[in-house]
Structure formats: C-alpha cells, structure tokens
Amino acid sequence: MLVTQQEQLRAQVTTLVDRLGPGRSSLVPILQEVKTQYHGIDSDAMQIVADLLDIHPVEVYSVATFYAFLNPAAEGQFVVRLCRTVSCDLAGKDAIARQLESELDVAFGETSKDGRFTLDWANCMGMCDQGPALLVNDRVYTRVTPETVREIVAECRAAHDGHAAERKEGYLV
C-alpha cells in the first residue's frame, strides 16, 4: 500500500476511534465500520486499529477472523449470503444456490472478477418462515425464487453505491 493511502486509512480509522472510543469494547464496532467502508480488513488496517487501541495486532486478527461478518479477506461491494440452514433448505435453497452461481458466475466463498459480488453462505438468519432467504449486505430478501435472483442481481448491478435499489419491500411480503 502506498504511504499516502496508509495515511489516509490511519486518518479514517482515527476518526472512527474518536467516535467509538479507544476502549477494547470498541474493537468489534470499529472493525464493523472498517469492513463496511473497505470491504475487507487488511493487515495495514489491523495494525492501525491495534496501535490506536493499544493492543497487539494479533488480537485484532484473532477477533476479525472469529466473526463471519468481519472476515478480513477482501470482499465485493455486494456480499450475498444465502441461508443454508434447515428451514431454508426444506424451502428449496439448492435451486437458489445454483441460480446465484450462474447469475454471478462465481462459486460460494468466492468474489466475482469485477470485484462487485461475493457469494457466501449464511447460517440461520431468522427468516425460517419465509425461506429461501438471503442477505445482500444488510438487506434481507425472503421467499426468493430463481426468477427473483435475477432481479436482485440486476438491482445490485444497477445501483451505484453500496446498496441495492429501494425496492426491497417487494420481497418482504
């Protein structure tokens, strides 16, 4: 990473620490913000967070790798997580999984070549009565069908920023 980029990162993380506090309790919220902003938590970011919280960077690494949503690996702008737990499984998640792989041209656990989409599994996300369910970043889609997979992906592709279009309510009924 270029020195200027590193300085920029340090400045941004410093702002975060100022806002959330320098205590250890702030570690998870800080990493959540870093992850949201940078779609990953690289070793520079971990080192900076460690410096500012006055802990060893391995502590930061240890926490980041523990939580599924803090996965330090670089992820796409849109992280699509399909629920794989039993109720969504009974509701036909396998067909949705195949459709997602075809639509995005990636396998589960991978990020698309253009860096926009990461496809992953989620363990039960509490939408068991409305499966199959999936999350795109922090947006939930329920009763997904192979046809709506296409629409969801198209919405993401059409969106400029980190969020899919505002039509989510359509999927929540």
């Binding site: 205590g23 250890r24 309790s25 702030s26 570690l27 998870v28 919220p29 990493l31 959540q32 240890s62 926490v63 523990f66 939580y67 599924a68 949503f69 803090l70 794989r84 737990t85 039993v86 109720s87 499984d89 009974l90 989620a122 363990n123 039960c124 996300m125 509490g126 939408m127 068991c128 009565d129 409305q130 499966g131 999350l135 922090d138 947006r139 939930v140 329920t142 929540l172 009924v173």
Partner: protein, 403 residues
C-alpha cells in the same frame, strides 16, 4: 418496519408497556423481584432458568455498576420470534429492561442484536430516542428521582455462539465470542466483571406484561411448572408457518393442527440443539416439564430425508463451534463425518455405538451449551429413524441405478 410474519394474535399486541413500567416503578426493588419470582416465569430463550431467581442474584450483589443485557442474538436454527418482537413490540422489551434495571440497581442496558438483524438497528434506536424524549429512559426514568437507566444497541457480527451469555459478554467486551468458565456466573461477574443480568428478548417483554396485567393473570396461562404463554417460531413443511403464541403445555399434535402440519412425520423442537420428536410422540407437551423449548418448531413432512436434516444440523454446529474446547470442536466434526458415511452407506453399527458414547462425552465435557446439546438432534434421529438412515446404498450406486 415489519417483515410480514404470519401467525395468530399475540397477547403482546394488547399490552400497554408503559403501564407495566409505571406499576413496577411504584414498587420497592425487592417487591419487583418477588413479583417476577411469584409469576414463576422461566427464561424464554430455551434454557428455562427462573427469571426472578436471576434478578434476585444480581440484585443481591454489591456494587454500583450493574448491567442489563437483552440477548437479541437469536441464532438457533428455526427461531425468529425475537425478530418479530423487536420489530413490532420494542417498547415492551425496553420497558422490561428498565424494570429489570430498577430491580437489580443497574443504570445501563445493552441490546446485543445479532449481525443478521442489522436492518433492525435504526428502528430500535428510533424507539429508544422516542422513549428518552418521553422520560421513559435516561435520567429519572418515569419521574422516579434517582433512577437513571439508558439503553444502547450493540451489533453482533455473525457468530451463533454469541447467543451463549458469557460468549455474548466476551463479544461485547471486544473479544472472540468464546464462552467463559462458570462460575462465576454473569449475575456475579458478567459484563466488565460487574453483576449482569442477561435475559432473552421475549423474557423481558413478558416481564413488562406481568407488571401491566398482574401475576394472577400471567399464571392463568400455561401449566403449574411452566407458567405463562410462549411465542413459537413455526417453520418447515406446514401450511401456515409464522410466529404463534400458545400457552405452555400445548401438545405437539394440537400445535400442528393450528399451523396446518398434521401430516408431519417428525418435528424438531428447540432448534438444531433441541430434539427430534417422531409422530408416535406427538401427544407430548411443550413445557419445561416435558419438552423444554425456546419455541422453535421445524415441521418435517412425510417426504423429508431425515439423514439430510441431521447432516444439515451437524454442518451448522461444526461451522459454529467456537473451537475452544476439544469435545465440541472435534466431536462435531466426527458427527458430521459420520453423517457423510451414513449417506454413503459405509457406517457400521459398531461405529454408531461409539458415536453414541461420544455424544455422551460431549454432553458432559463440553464447556458450554453448544457442545452439550449439538449431538442431540442427530442422536434422536438415529434413535427414531434408524431404519431410514442406516444401510443406504452408496450414492454412486444410486446414481447409476437412476441413470
């Protein structure tokens, strides 16, 4: 903000949360705890610890820093009632937290919201803000001089284990969500090693109901040993999945009739860590004295492949085990591998007997509830559906036959 979950009419909808809070604030602190104890309410998260006793332990501890934590890390497969409560009745939950805070002498409340529910955070913060403006949170809550109580929402990051109360506390403190040794229990040394009550969302909401409507009213629902009503998360092969309220003591058969799942061959009660109940036992009751449950019911229709179900649960646990203790980390991996062997038709009965022993070891030797319960579903499926899942033709062979 409401993700439209169907079901029957919930009592929560007819309760004035703030009437409950006012009633409680007019009482002395020991009286608040006694009221909850008298109600006989047990924790709604599934473990069923008496709520009054928990509040009493924390209340008896010395120290001016105490905490109320609302466990909204609803991660048990097949459970989603807390999502509905938080979406539709957050005032009841926050009133319940304030009552608990008053009872034990805590000034801070934390809602630990699972990362998968992050879309609820702004909604909850808006309700908290409104309650602050109404004097129901913040300084001198409800006009009671000297009773300050406020609530913040903390967001989890995708770890089932953080629903375990000591793992949840570790996570709040900025560590890996690895359960602590107990004792000391959180009521003695919890968040930041201060006395802490960790209650499920529904427990706190129900506590507010008890104060709004009275102990006798609450005890008019349910059984002697499992008082009150309970929210059930119903999913799987049934006509009307959703969140339902039933009094404790309802039979599995009656519940299935209500939700349109009469032809089920089995139901999974209590989520992945619960037990699989076959059709022959549908007369059993949902109550702490028969089938204890946090309210998750997954219905399996006649066509369900029970081995696939067992494998799905085991994949979940192998993935979600925090890895800290050996019986859970290795045990779940062994169980999952065995499910694969069964699928391939290459698992000996002798090995299954060994797995039963391993399951016993996991139950007694695992550090927390995850490892202690994770093999339950597999073992009950083996017990009740042994004929279905043993001696399968190898998968390759099946493929050849069908080709």
């Amino acid at each position: 903000m409401s993700i439209q979950t169907q079901g029957n009419t919930l009592t929560f909808a007819s309760i004035d949360a703030d009437a409950g809070l006012r009633t409680a604030l007019a009482m002395s602190r020991p009286d608040i705890i006694d009221t909850v104890s008298d109600s006989g309410m047990k924790g709604r998260g599934g473990a069923g610890f008496p709520t009054g006793m928990k509040w009493n332990f924390a209340g008896a501890e010395k120290g001016d820093k105490k905490y109320i934590i609302c466990n909204a890390d609803e991660g048990e497969p097949g459970t989603f009632k807390d999502r509905v409560i938080l979406s539709e009745f957050p005032d009841l939950v926050f009133a319940g937290m304030a009552i608990a805070g008053r009872a034990i002498g805590a000034a801070e409340g934390i809602v630990y919201l699972r990362g998968e529910y992050s879309y609820l955070r702004s909604h909850l913060n808006a309700v908290i803000k409104k309650r602050r403006a109404a004097g129901l949170l913040g300084k001198d809550v409800g006009g009671v001089k000297g009773f300050d109580f406020d609530i913040i929402v903390a967001l989890g990051a995708g770890a089932y284990i953080c629903g375990e109360e000591t793992a949840l506390i570790e996570s709040l403190e900025g560590f890996r969500g690895e359960p602590r040794n107990r004792p000391p229990f959180p009521v003695v040394a919890g968040y930041r090693y201060a006395p802490t009550v960790v209650n499920n969302v529904e427990t706190l909401a129900s506590a507010a109901c008890i104060f709004a409507k009275g102990v006798d009213w609450f005890k008019s629902f349910g059984t002697d040993r499992s008082t009150g009503f309970k929210l059930f998360s119903i999913s799987g092969d049934c006509a009307k999945p959703g969140v339902y309220e039933f009094p404790f003591g309802i039979t599995v058969a009656d519940l299935l009739k209500e939700v349109g799942g009469e032809n089920a061959k089995a139901v999974q009660i209590g989520g992945a860590s619960g037990t699989c109940v076959p059709r022959t036992q549908f007369a059993r009751r949902m109550a702490f004295e028969d089938i204890p449950t946090g309210g998750s019911v997954i219905v399996f229709g006649p066509q369900t492949d029970m081995l696939a179900v067992a494998e799905n649960f085991l994949e979940f646990f192998a993935d979600e085990s925090c890895g800290q203790c050996t019986p859970c980390r290795v045990g779940n991996a062994k169980m999952l591998a065995a499910a694969g062997q069964l699928k391939d038709g290459v698992c000996s009965a002798e090995y299954l007997a060994e797995l039963r022993e391993l399951s016993g070891t996991m139950q007694v030797a695992s550090k927390c509830g995850l490892g202690q319960t994770s093999s339950n579903a597999f073992m009950s499926i083996l017990e009740h559906f042994g004929d279905e899942i043993m001696s399968r033709p190898a998968q390759a062979e099946t493929a050849r036959t069908s080709a």
